[in-house]
Structure formats: structure tokens, C-alpha cells
């Protein structure tokens, strides 16, 4: 009897061990996705060619690349709707928790590995991997909230969260959907856990060999590196045209000379520029406003709908356009089909100066205004960005950062901090608008302002404002 019981217990033990082994194998196979097999468990269509190629490179160079503990869950890698072998993100998991995200962009024939730990990225993958019930929501493509003119893609999905444990009647029981999203912007490389090179690019394990990065098979095949948006190239034609208008003899006489003579006046003056029936530039007589505003007399043009520019003087103040000037240009652009320039005259240290806001992409500019409307971002009292608003935040951040360190200004020009901050938000938010200042020769030159992550000679990593002007 006793022997039978022992035998039964042994059988039970053997069965338990077998069962445990099966379960363990299953767990291992799903929880150890860094092996050479890849089966997409993503909710979206992925660029599997890129994922497989990057995975192969990673496995070959893991000891060099790996900078954090945890395992890459390649099955959950996502290329976030890019299919040109250019970018992926893969979650790094340790003890069932997503602890960081490995991002792998391709630049030409090389791929670069860097680790980030954005909270929203971690939440996104944590729930994507470990939540049982999920549904995909439409992807949102945004032309705003970008850096350096790159478009961002926001990918959404929802996870069913039961209010009571065990109640998994998806969508119908006692519970709710939680929505998670992730944004892909190539410039969001600020939480790098590895080294950052002299160009502000995070090397994060990607690059001690061959000047950084790892060779990508085929160099991206038929998919070369996506072209970078050059802010100077983007603004070149519109800025050339804005300069041509500024240098036009009629403009020099009726706009430039007139407004330069008003910059020390107690009030602002404004003119409107349109196209006359004979095709020549038509410029209104100057209209006097108050000490801090003027509405250029567009209605005095023979055909107000032909207006393509306004110009005004600041009363004894710098020429840097205010937030109000920016909104006025954008709103007039919506009202008038040809509107594209706003010239602003001012005085700095006793010398006249000219700034200009120039529309370089009407569709982007309309999107920008739609996303950051005057009603939410403008203060009618200060004539500037409303304190605490979206635009105020970015504007003031740049003013502060440039005050901290202005050594990144390689333009050779002395710009008003407000103009630099304006250039920063226009560029960062892909506004379709450029800001320029006339140089000593009187030519308008686009101002570029952005924030770069740099490594100082002593090894410290800093966020540095960089300012330049286009040729």
C-alpha cells in the first residue's frame, strides 16, 4: 500500500516536472526573443526586412552594442509605419518590465543603436507586450510637433483594463479601454544613455567602429537614406523673392525709406504691398497706428486681394517681430491668397534693422495656425505669446537657453533673443514660416535656431542652442 502511494507520488512528481518543463519551454521561447528567430507579434504591419537585418547585426555585435541589462523583445519591434529600412524601435525587457527602448535608425549604409527611456515609450511597449486584450486605433500623422521639419507619426492602440480581476469580457464587461500612443520623430534622441558624438547624435553603443554605426547589408537596398530637410533649402526661393521685393525700386522708395524714417517716431507706421493691374508693385501710403500696433492699410490697395506683403515700423524699439506680428501674417495668409511676407523695421543701438517673416509653405503654415491658434497662444495686452501657452513655453525656453549659452551662434550676426526664440519655434514646430534679418548688405538672411545635444570636452553632455544664418 505504502509502495503504491510512493509510486503514485513519484508519477505525480514526474508528470509535474514534465508539465513544468513544457511550460518553462514555452515561457523561454516567448520570453527570450533575442534568439535568431523572429515572428512579429506587433499589431501593425512592420518592415520585417529591416527588423531581421538589424536583429542580425545586433546579434553579431551584441557585446559592443549592449549598454543596459535586459533582453530585446524583437518580436515586438516596430518600424512605426516606415517601410524604407530606415528606423525601428525594440523594447528591452527585464523581469517582465520594459526598462528601455533600443532605437535603430539607418543613415545611408550604416545603422546606429541607441537606448532611450521615455516614459511614454516604456508604457507603450509594457502594455503592448503584457496586456491581454488590445485593439489598434488609427495612426495619426502630424506635421507639427516636429523637429527640423521632420514629420512625426503617432501610433495608437488601446488595452482593455478590467475593473475587477478576472472579468475579461472585452469591451462589454466591467472595465475600460486605456489608450497608449507613441510618436516617431527622428530627432527625439535626447534621452540617450550612451555617448553623444560631436554632431549631437547619440552613439549609444552604436559606434566605436568605422567612425560610428554598423554596416547595413546592401546599404538599404533600393531605399537610400531619406533626404534631410534643409531649412535653408526650404526657405531659399521664398527668401529670394522676399529680397527681390525689398530691393525693388518702388519698395525702396515707398516702403524702405518711409519706414526707416519712422523708427524713432512715437507710433508705429504700416504699409501694404500688392500687385497693380499693370503687374507692377503697388504700395500704399503709410498709415499711423499706436505706440505698439498698426494695421497696414490693405484696403487702400486698388485690389486688396492682390496684397502679398505688409511692412511696419516699431516705435523706437527693436525690429524683431512679436508674437502678434506672426499671427497677423498667418491670418492674412488665410484671408488673402497671395499674402506671404511681413517686413518689420526697428532700431537697435541707434542703427535701423529689418526683420522679415516669410511664408515658405502655405499648407504647413495653415496647419501651424490651426494647431496653435491666436485664441490660445496670444495675449492681447502684451501683444506677445500668452504666458503658459504652448508657444510661450518653447519661446521662453529658447530665450533662457540662449541666455545661458550663446556661444553656439555661428552666424556672425547679433540677433535679438526674441528673434532667435521665434526662429526656434518656427523651425521646431515645422510652421512653414521662416524669419530673416537683413545683413550689412541689406539682404535678408534666414535665421536658423535649434537645440543640439553636445558633448563638451570634459565629457559632460549639454543641450546647446545653435544659431546660424543661411547663405
Amino acid at each position: 500500500m505504502k509502495r503504491k502511494i510512493i509510486l503514485k507520488l513519484l508519477l505525480l512528481l514526474a508528470f509535474s516536472v514534465t508539465l513544468y518543463s513544457c511550460v518553462h519551454d514555452e515561457i523561454n521561447s516567448s520570453a527570450n526573443p533575442s534568439n535568431s528567430e523572429y515572428t512579429s507579434k506587433s499589431l501593425w504591419k512592420e518592415d520585417e526586412v529591416y527588423i531581421r537585418n538589424v536583429m542580425k547585426i545586433y546579434l553579431e555585435h551584441e557585446t559592443e552594442i549592449k549598454k543596459v541589462s535586459g533582453i530585446p523583445y524583437w518580436d515586438y519591434a516596430t518600424t512605426l509605419e516606415s517601410y524604407d529600412e530606415s528606423f525601428l524601435m525594440v523594447p528591452i525587457v527585464e523581469d517582465n518590465k520594459v526598462t528601455s527602448v533600443l532605437q535603430v535608425p539607418r543613415h545611408g549604409t550604416k545603422v546606429y543603436f541607441y537606448y532611450t527611456n521615455y516614459k511614454n515609450h516604456l508604457d507603450f511597449f509594457q502594455n503592448l507586450i503584457f496586456s491581454e486584450y488590445k485593439k489598434v486605433l488609427p495612426t495619426e500623422k502630424s506635421s507639427a510637433a516636429t523637429g527640423k521639419g521632420m514629420k512625426c507619426t503617432r501610433t495608437f492602440y488601446s488595452v482593455w483594463m478590467p475593473n475587477n480581476e478576472g472579468n475579461y469580457n472585452t469591451g462589454g464587461g466591467d472595465g475600460h479601454w486605456n489608450t497608449y500612443s507613441i510618436v516617431k520623430c527622428r530627432q527625439m534622441i535626447d534621452e540617450c544613455m550612451g555617448a553623444v558624438n560631436e554632431y549631437g547624435e547619440c552613439q549609444g553603443g552604436g559606434g566605436s567602429n568605422s567612425g560610428g554605426g554598423y554596416g547595413y547589408p546592401g546599404g538599404g537596398g533600393n531605399n537610400p537614406e531619406p533626404p534631410k530637410v534643409d531649412p535653408c533649402q526650404k526657405a531659399k526661393i521664398p527668401m529670394t523673392q522676399a529680397n527681390a521685393t525689398l530691393k525693388n525700386s518702388a519698395s525702396q522708395q515707398k516702403m524702405d525709406a518711409v519706414l526707416k524714417s519712422k523708427i524713432q517716431n512715437a507710433n508705429e507706421f504700416g504699409v501694404a504691398l500688392g500687385t497693380a493691374a499693370n503687374g507692377q508693385i503697388e504700395i500704399t501710403p503709410p498709415k499711423e497706428g499706436t505706440s505698439s500696433s498698426v494695421s497696414p492699410p490693405i484696403d487702400q490697395l486698388s485690389n486688396p486681394n492682390s496684397v502679398f506683403a505688409t511692412a511696419h515700423s516699431h516705435a523706437g524699439a527693436f525690429g524683431a517681430p512679436s508674437g502678434g506680428d506672426m499671427f497677423s501674417l498667418l491670418e492674412r495668409m488665410i484671408m488673402y491668397p497671395n499674402m506671404r511676407y511681413s517686413y518689420v523695421y526697428g532700431i537697435a543701438n541707434g542703427v535701423s534693422e529689418i526683420y522679415a517673416l516669410v511664408i515658405n509653405d502655405r499648407a504647413l503654415a495653415a496647419d501651424f495656425l490651426n494647431q496653435y491658434p491666436r485664441s490660445q497662444n496670444y495675449d492681447t495686452v502684451t501683444h506677445d505669446f500668452k504666458e503658459g501657452s504652448n508657444l510661450y513655453e518653447d519661446f521662453t525656453a529658447m530665450r533662457y537657453m540662449y541666455g545661458f549659452d550663446s556661444s553656439g551662434n555661428t552666424s556672425g550676426e547679433s540677433y535679438d533673443k526674441n528673434a532667435i526664440a521665434m526662429a526656434h519655434i518656427l523651425e521646431k514646430l515645422n510652421s512653414g514660416v521662416s524669419i530673416a534679418k537683413a545683413d550689412v548688405t541689406g539682404n535678408l538672411k534666414t535665421i536658423n535656431a535649434s537645440i543640439q545635444t553636445i558633448t563638451k570636452p570634459n565629457g559632460t553632455i549639454e543641450e546647446k542652442p545653435t544659431v546660424s544664418k543661411c547663405p
Binding site: 534621452e191 523706437g316 524699439a317 506677445d384 503658459g388 521662453t396 545661458f404 533673443k417 526674441n418 543641450e463
Partner: protein, 163 residues
């Protein structure tokens, strides 16, 4: 010799520590430390109106709120008369982290009754927007017209109400 070795070791440790990049987590910790202290002042902020800046500054110090930097501004644009300062409680790198993550960052905007003297503007420029003891003296007698607390409703809050 031993002393030099110790000093070198200490300096090396300092360099290694200071080389650590500030992260989003650092920013969130900073925000969650400073903002509750700022919030505790908002109900009584009007008591500082018409008073010299030094009294408000002492209140900040009493609550262990450290100023790190500042920028000056005009009441209205365009103008060359500066009446406003924005006080910051972290350095530029932290502000960049906030900006890149679309986080709110806390600042106090103080409008002074009188124009900020050019001597103070020059001092701010010379100090690269960093707060220091010489600025405390320069600002001490300027009378406050109003105080606004910005970005203190949560680092991810969509509530942009000014307190």
C-alpha cells in the same frame, strides 16, 4: 603624495558624476520637488505686491526654493523698457529636457512697478542669465507689481492656468 592622490581621486569621481546626462527621470524628480513648494506660496502671493523684491526672495529661501536663472522681458511688445523677469529653478539642460518631452516647466514671472535699471540688465547679461548673489542685491529694492506662477499644474498637465 597621498593627499594629491586623494584629491585626484575625488576630482575624478566628481567629473564622472557630473558627466552623467540629466534624464527625463531627473526632470520629473526636480519638478515634483520644486512645484509643491511653489504652490504653497501662491495663495498669499498678493501680500508681496508693492513690497521690495527682497521680501519675496526671502520667502523663496525660507521654503528652500533655489533660483537658478532668469530672463528679463518687457510688459508689452515691442518696447525697450524692461519691467518683467522670469525666474527659473533649473538649468538650461533641464529646460531642454522639458521642452523636448513637451513637459511643463515651472517659472515665476514678476512684473516690477518701475523699469528694471539698465545696470541690472547688464548684470544679467554678464552672468549669462544665471542667478547669483550680486543680482540679489541689485533686485532687492525693486517693488513688485504682480507675480504669476506658470507651469505648476503638473508636468504633463494640459491645464495651463496661471496661478
Amino acid at each position: 603624495m597621498k593627499s594629491i592622490f586623494k584629491k585626484t581621486l575625488f576630482a575624478s569621481i566628481l567629473i564622472i558624476c557630473s558627466s552623467k546626462a540629466q534624464t527625463t527621470t531627473d526632470y520629473i524628480n526636480f519638478y515634483n520637488t520644486v512645484v509643491p513648494k511653489l504652490k504653497s506660496i501662491t495663495p498669499s502671493k498678493t501680500q508681496f505686491y508693492g513690497q521690495p523684491f527682497s521680501i519675496f526672495y526671502n520667502e523663496l529661501r525660507n521654503r528652500n526654493i533655489n533660483l537658478v536663472g532668469l530672463v528679463y522681458d518687457t510688459k508689452i511688445k515691442p518696447s525697450t523698457k524692461y519691467h518683467v523677469v522670469s525666474l527659473f529653478f533649473c538649468d538650461a539642460t533641464m529646460i531642454s529636457i522639458a521642452s523636448k518631452n513637451s513637459f511643463r516647466y515651472p517659472i515665476i514671472n514678476i512684473t516690477f512697478e518701475d523699469e528694471i535699471p539698465s545696470q541690472i540688465i547688464s548684470a544679467i547679461e554678464q552672468n549669462d542669465s544665471r542667478w547669483n548673489t550680486s543680482l540679489i542685491q541689485l533686485f532687492s529694492n525693486l517693488k513688485i507689481e504682480n507675480i504669476k506662477f506658470i507651469g505648476i499644474n503638473g508636468y504633463e498637465s494640459s491645464d495651463r492656468t496661471i496661478k
